[in-house]
């Protein structure tokens, strides 16, 4: 009986070393925090705060993840998010009066507008990559500037504030006074993407196209369609992240969240997605998001560690994990 269980555990570990490693890292950190900052870390409030913080960049990481499975990358996610947030903010101010009437209609409209913007932005990326044949890294870097530029023109470079408070209240509120709504949006998108990737033909085609696009074409996969679809989903996911940013800060600006681009790329790699395409699981990326959030929040709770050290620790963890990933991959090749 016991040997059966250990057998199972060892197959899980062998099957997904990345996920195992992230779980181990998370457990070590949780135990560490338990020993040194139990009363500060293990509070409902702290977990609620964390759950409200990661959805905005977590959603952007999802987009980058899908594009990376396809063998590309989406560096425009933050641009798309700000673009969507700004148009959402303008829409909100137009519809909702100062006294907060029409809010019930305005929120769904803002989400629809945001999603449309995300989808369109993604379609532009997909078009540039699949039809004009621009390398993804250049195409999305270009459109990042493009979307940010549109956002700057729309706002004249300033932050949009004075947004009807009801929107922020609705999104940052808590279901049953416990679960942040942002988290629910994040989980809903996670479910949708998991379903698309594991249960539909789109998912199979995504992984196979990411592995070898020429072979996919020769197998009759409509690769152009898959590429455009993937960047559109990435755009939609990023726009949802943008709307959550809008709610979290209760304002929108073209320059918000610029550190998220690289952070998301690193999360995705940390989660075991292979930058050359075709490999990786969403569960790994979700875990990586959790791990980084816990590390960040945990370090905040230790005043002895000066905030000067935080980027150092952050970078150290990332590089260490990538080195481990490298050795795992190479071991596989040698076998």
């Amino acid at each position: 009986m016991l040997s059966k269980i250990t057998n199972r555990i060892s197959t899980v570990i062998k099957n997904d070393i990345y996920i195992t490693r992230l779980i181990a890292l998370m457990l070590i950190w949780l135990v560490f925090m338990g020993f040194f900052r139990f009363e500060k870390f293990y509070t409902v409030i702290n977990f609620q705060t964390m759950a409200a913080q990661f959805p905005e960049f977590g959603l952007m990481a999802f987009g980058i993840m899908l594009c990376m499975i396809l063998g590309g990358i989406d560096l425009s996610v933050v641009g798309v998010a700000n673009f969507a947030a700004i148009v959402g903010a303008i829409t909100l101010k137009k519809i909702v009066g100062v006294d907060g009437e029409m809010l019930g209609i305005a929120i769904p409209i803002v989400f629809i507008v945001g999603i449309i913007i995300g989808a369109m932005a993604g379609a532009v990326n997909g078009f540039l990559i699949s039809i004009i044949n621009i390398p993804p890294i250049l195409a999305t870097l270009g459109t990042f500037e493009l979307f940010t530029g549109i956002a700057i023109v729309l706002t004249k470079g300033k932050a949009i504030s004075g947004i009807p408070f009801g929107f922020s209240e609705a999104i940052t509120g808590r279901l049953f006074g416990l679960i942040p709504i942002q988290l629910l949006i994040f989980l809903a998108m996670a479910l949708v993407i998991t379903f698309l990737v594991t249960k539909t033909t789109y998912g199979k085609k995504l992984y196979l196209t990411g592995t070898n696009i020429t072979a996919a074409k020769f197998s009759g996969v409509k690769t152009t369609k898959i590429i455009i679809k993937t960047y559109m989903i990435s755009g939609i996911s990023a726009s949802l992240g943008g709307l959550i940013m809008l709610a979290n800060y209760n304002s929108a600006r073209a320059g918000y969240g610029t550190v998220y681009t690289l952070q998301c790329v690193l999360i995705v790699v940390l989660g075991g997605i292979n930058p050359s395409g075709g490999k990786g699981k969403i569960s790994g990326v979700i875990l990586a998001i959790f791990v980084l959030q816990m590390l960040a929040s945990g370090l905040n709770k230790i005043p002895e560690i000066s905030s000067f050290y935080i980027p150092l620790i952050w970078g150290g963890v990332l590089v260490a994990v990538m080195v481990m990933n490298y050795f795992t991959e190479n071991k596989k090749i040698k076998l």
Binding site: T200, T201, K204, T211, G278
Partner: protein, 494 residues
């Protein structure tokens, strides 16, 4: 008898529990042309790497000119005159011929500045050794394959090579280029340089080699003179089984025309091509590289779109402008380069099999039906006897022959009318090759129209019921396999 330039005695080497070499001995005499043959996985590449110092053997020793070594480094191997020319030639494609040739000498001279004049002189001396005429300033990446190979040979000669090992030297060459290469090799032989060919098939190398060493699953199975070998014995040593070659006689005759093309033209590649294939027929199309054969196949599958002409499937005219349209019309295509065009190497064998029919393996709302998928995968693994313990394994765990079966399965899983195979057995070992031939004949007899494109003339002869020869983009001749010979076809190709 002269002393051996190289003698590898009782070499043993294993990788993670797999014994790749089980005590193999190889002797090469000065100035001889020797062929090391064996199927994929027989241990020939491992042996080469031991000789050239890349791997350290676990047992046995290597002697160069009588000096015995237990452990050799690549540098020691080079100093002892051993040079390996790999299939990819290990050249720098973005540099010029001159730079490629003079690079090592220039590095060895330890001068920090590059002296163009000196480099040119070194390069000129190098190409002069084999009277190779080439523009020294041309980028190597832009040269034809044959010239790249000669650049690699020139570079090898600069190190006072006594033994040049060539890995599959003729696979990418045309007959003319092979003849030129052989002339150079005979020239080198006259200078006392030994050549070791490494090959997994019985091809042109056969005519020029004096002695053979054949490996099978890490063991030495044959060592001796080429004149003691013939096709049949060679196949037997390579595979360990007797193989009967029977010409293909279609069982289904006077059938409807499945695919008919008229005056097909793709400007710059082929012109006015017309032919037809009936149900149950295997049509062979042959021609040298650049004759338009590959472009013709790509056009029939919609990767290239023809400029003019008519394609009829089952009597109905269709405009094939994308692979999707080709597939909807029942056309399947097994590409020339299995690794880059045919397979998703890192993905599972199962996914590789079902990708082309995946849209039919769904339940309600387009959700994948796992049961249907695994039934389909099991069916094809069994049908084509793909040797794998588990179809969830990645495709790169399979041998070349089994990989080719996966590509075949991908197409057979669809309801095909016409199957086009570009190089049906490229990079496949002899045993698998005949198995694939057998599968194709069976498929034709069950009503499929098959087109094979191949420059392996014996293969075309034994498979086809009709042979078309392409030359300079036109069909130059049509043969019945029973009324022609290999020589007649080869003569028509160039």
């Amino acid at each position: 008898m002269a002393q051996n330039v190289l003698k590898a005695v009782d070499i043993k080497k294993s990788f993670t529990g797999v014994q790749a070499l089980k005590g193999v001995t190889l002797e090469i005499r000065p100035g001889e042309i020797h062929c090391l043959a064996g199927e994929n996985g027989s241990g020939k590449s491992t042996l080469i790497k031991v000789i050239s110092g890349v791997y350290t053997p676990e047992g046995g020793h290597v002697e160069y000119d009588g000096k015995s070594y237990k452990k050799i480094t690549p540098i020691e191997a080079i100093l002892n005159g051993v040079q390996v020319i790999y299939q990819d030639f290990s050249i720098f494609p973005n540099l010029s011929v001159m730079e490629n040739l003079a690079f090592n000498t220039e590095l060895a001279s330890k001068s920090k500045l590059v002296n163009k004049k000196r480099m040119r002189k070194i390069a000129e001396e190098a190409i002069d050794k084999i009277k190779f005429e080439v523009d020294l300033d041309a980028k190597v990446g832009e040269l034809p394959v044959a010239s790249k190979q000669l650049v690699a040979i020139c570079r090898a000669l600069m190190f006072n090579a006594k033994l040049i090992i060539m890995d599959e030297p003729t696979t990418a060459l045309t007959r003319k280029e092979i003849n030129a290469l052989f002339k150079i090799i005979l020239d080198l032989k006259a200078q006392g340089i030994a050549i070791l060919f490494v090959s997994h098939k019985l091809d042109e190398v056969f005519e020029i080699s004096e002695r053979f060493t054949i490996l099978r699953s890490g063991e030495l199975v044959f060592k001796g003179n080429t004149k003691d070998l013939d096709d049949k014995k060679f196949s037997y040593y390579m595979t360990g089984r007797e193989i009967q070659i029977e010409p293909f006689e279609p069982k289904l005759t006077k059938q409807t025309k499945m695919l008919e093309v008229k005056n097909l033209t793709l400007n710059g590649y082929f012109y006015d091509v017309s032919f037809s294939v009936s149900k149950g027929e295997i049509l062979g199309i042959s021609g040298i590289l650049g004759s338009g054969r590959t472009e013709l196949a790509l056009s029939l599958f919609g990767i290239r779109v023809v400029d003019s002409g008519i394609i009829k499937i089952n009597g109905k005219e269709v405009a094939i402008n994308s692979p999707t349209v080709a597939m909807e019309n029942g056309i399947g295509y097994v590409p020339e380069d299995r690794l880059t065009e045919g397979l998703f190497l890192q993905q599972s064998i199962g996914d590789n099999i079902i990708i082309s029919e995946i849209d039919n393996l769904t339940g309600k709302f387009g959700i994948l039906d796992e049961r249907k998928q695994s039934e389909e995968i099991q069916k094809w693994v069994k049908e084509l006897s793909i040797a794998t313990p588990n179809p969830d394994n990645a495709c790169n765990t399979l041998s070349g022959g089994n990989q080719q079966r996966v590509v075949l399965a991908k197409w057979l899983a669809r309801d095909l009318k016409v199957l086009i195979l570009n190089g049906p057995s490229v990079g496949v070992d002899i045993g698998s090759k005949y198995d694939i031939h057998h599968i194709l004949k069976k498929l034709a007899d069950s009503g499929l129209a098959i087109i094979i494109i191949s420059d392996d003339i014996p293969e075309v002869m034994s498979l086809s019921s009709k042979i078309l020869i392409m030359r300079d983009g036109k069909i130059s001749n049509t043969f019945e396999p029973s009324e022609t010979t290999i020589h007649e076809i080869t003569a028509q190709m160039v």
